[in-house]
């Protein structure tokens, strides 16, 4: 146990620091939201007054009014973009990643071939930047802003959807920590010359601590995707009636179970 602790000292310290920093930050009353909002909207706060209507201001020119309305409308565009990016391309990428991982459940060679194929796709860096890095970066930063503007109240209102609301924010934050660590350990390591293959993952997952971390991280990513799919359908006005929303809930549960099975089978195959 002591030996194991020292072997994994680096992992454990990074993990603990991130958890101990993030959790109190999330639950605290710290008003990061206003700060994030300022950065995201590139606007001075006084223009965000809720009760001011641009239509009351007769003295400003039509051009100014147009600029003002566009500035006021940014939140709608950001929120819809956030919702869309979560499914396309991030959700599609998540499924593709987990399906490729599943080659590990077939054989070591199958996994290495699949990983090599993905690595040798043409224009790889552009695919990575536009399909993975930029969408995830935006989704994560704006997602933190959204998570921090909520005041969870499941203790007073313990309804199913309210729990999903809370879990969506929690799993988002957990997934972000996990992805940051996972990218550091694999993609950034690869940029510094490490080879991404079956053995690399087998080494990482040999530690029970890291295995647990991966299980939690992957499951929260899948939960966040499955439940996000449900809210995507509502946010874009696809599921309007209560009945369609209930059926979408069953659908999202199905997505969670199936994708989780694929992911866990792959993880277990490495040990």
């Amino acid at each position: 146990m002591t030996l194991w602790f020292f072997q994994n000292f680096f992992h454990i310290s990074i993990f603990s620091v991130s958890v101990f920093l993030t959790v109190p930050l999330y639950e605290s009353k710290m008003d990061l939201s206003q700060y994030c909002k300022k950065c995201l909207l590139f606007l001075p706060m006084e223009r965000l007054e809720t009760n001011s209507s641009v239509f009351d201001l007769d003295i400003i020119s039509n051009y100014q009014r147009g600029v003002y309305i566009m500035a006021q409308n940014r939140e709608f565009v950001w929120r819809r973009l956030h919702s869309l990016l979560g499914v396309i391309p991030i959700g599609v990428f998540l499924i593709q990643h987990l399906v490729v991982n599943h080659f590990a459940a077939i054989s070591e060679e199958a996994f290495n071939n699949a990983a090599h194929f993905m690595e040798s796709l043409p224009f790889r860096i552009f695919l990575e930047v536009f399909i993975i890095y930029l969408p995830i970066l935006f989704h994560a930063i704006y997602g933190i802003y959204i998570a921090f503007t909520a005041k969870n109240n499941t203790s007073r209102f313990g309804y199913f959807r309210n729990w999903m609301f809370k879990l969506q924010r929690w799993t988002g934050v957990i997934t972000l920590i996990f992805i940051a660590w996972h990218v550091w350990e694999t993609r950034i390591a690869a940029a510094f010359g490490a080879e991404v293959n079956f053995n690399m993952m087998a080494d990482i997952l040999a530690s029970p601590f890291m295995f647990a971390f991966y299980v939690v991280g992957v499951l929260s990513a899948i939960f966040h995707f499955a439940n996000g799919l449900w809210s995507f359908l509502v946010s874009w006005g696809i599921t309007v009636s209560p009945r369609s929303q209930v059926i979408a809930t069953y659908f999202s549960i199905g997505v969670f179970v199936i994708v989780s099975t694929i992911a866990i089978r792959a993880l277990v195959a490495f040990i």
Partner: protein, 253 residues
């Protein structure tokens, strides 16, 4: 034994909008059929707390006393609802009364709901019918649609949905479910529909529709059973179409 039966209240009080809140306990004689408001009136008649000390009467808002005006909303045993329709017989004791924390507190259980009325102005929750000459009668509304719209028109701006919503708080500008549902009501009206785009654009502004995080507490809490989350989802669809029209262009407004 009946004359010994009592009711216990623990009330969160606050003397001024800025001072700290404190709890005060009251014990009242039970009367059959009493509700929270009749209990508060009893305290007002004889403002003595459970320790037997003389205190100030409790301040609260009320008007219709039949759950249609929305003025007397407060947190009763943790859940926001109207105190006029909260029957003591159906409540667990001690009965805890607290002001709705989403709104600025004026005094004790009395809160300032102006932000809701400001939001109704912001989303243009009315039907413009004035002209410089007689505009004549408007288009007819089908009876079935009128009956459907009546359900949405039951909203009394009581604030319960805002209190229940995790996204309506001091950190966000969200206007809350009630004014959003009113946009759906006025957009459904044959004359109101003529200004549909204006209302949709208003809720596409900051603090508007997209702030909804789908916790769906509002629809669970609404005392009038208004399908708030269906309204929000329907408006999501309408604003998707409106955004498409605005960006790609269309002959319609």
């Amino acid at each position: 034994m009946a004359e010994n039966k009592t009711v216990r209240f623990i009330i969160t009080r606050q003397d001024t909008p800025d001072s700290a809140s404190y709890e005060e306990e009251f014990v009242l004689d039970y009367r059959p059929g009493m509700n929270v408001i009749s209990a508060l009136m009893e305290i007002r008649r004889n403002p003595v707390n459970a320790k037997g000390e003389k205190t100030t009467p409790i301040s609260w808002d009320m008007n219709c006393l039949e759950e249609v005006c929305g003025a007397c909303s407060m947190n009763i045993n943790g859940k926001p609802r109207q105190s006029c329709s909260a029957l003591v017989d159906q409540l667990e004791q001690p009965i805890r009364l607290a002001p709705m924390s989403t709104f600025p507190i004026i005094r004790d259980l009395q809160v300032d709901r102006s932000r809701m009325f400001d939001s109704l102005k912001r989303v243009k929750a009315w039907i413009p019918i004035d002209g410089t000459y007689d505009l004549g009668p408007g288009p007819r509304m089908p009876e079935r649609k009128r009956q459907w719209a009546y359900e949405l028109s039951k909203c009394m701006t009581c604030g319960v949905c805002l209190e229940a919503c995790p996204n309506v708080n001091s950190k966000s500008d969200f206007i809350g479910p009630a004014p959003l549902s009113q946009v759906r009501l006025f957009n459904a009206h044959p004359t109101g529909e003529m200004n549909k785009a204006e209302r949709l654009e208003a809720i596409m502004g900051d603090g508007g529709l997209t702030n909804c995080g789908n916790s769906q507490n509002c629809v669970q809490s609404c005392p009038k059973g208004i399908p708030l989350t269906t309204s929000i989802a329907a408006l999501n669809r309408d604003t998707s179409i409106q955004a498409f029209k605005n960006f790609f262009g269309s002959d319609q407004i």
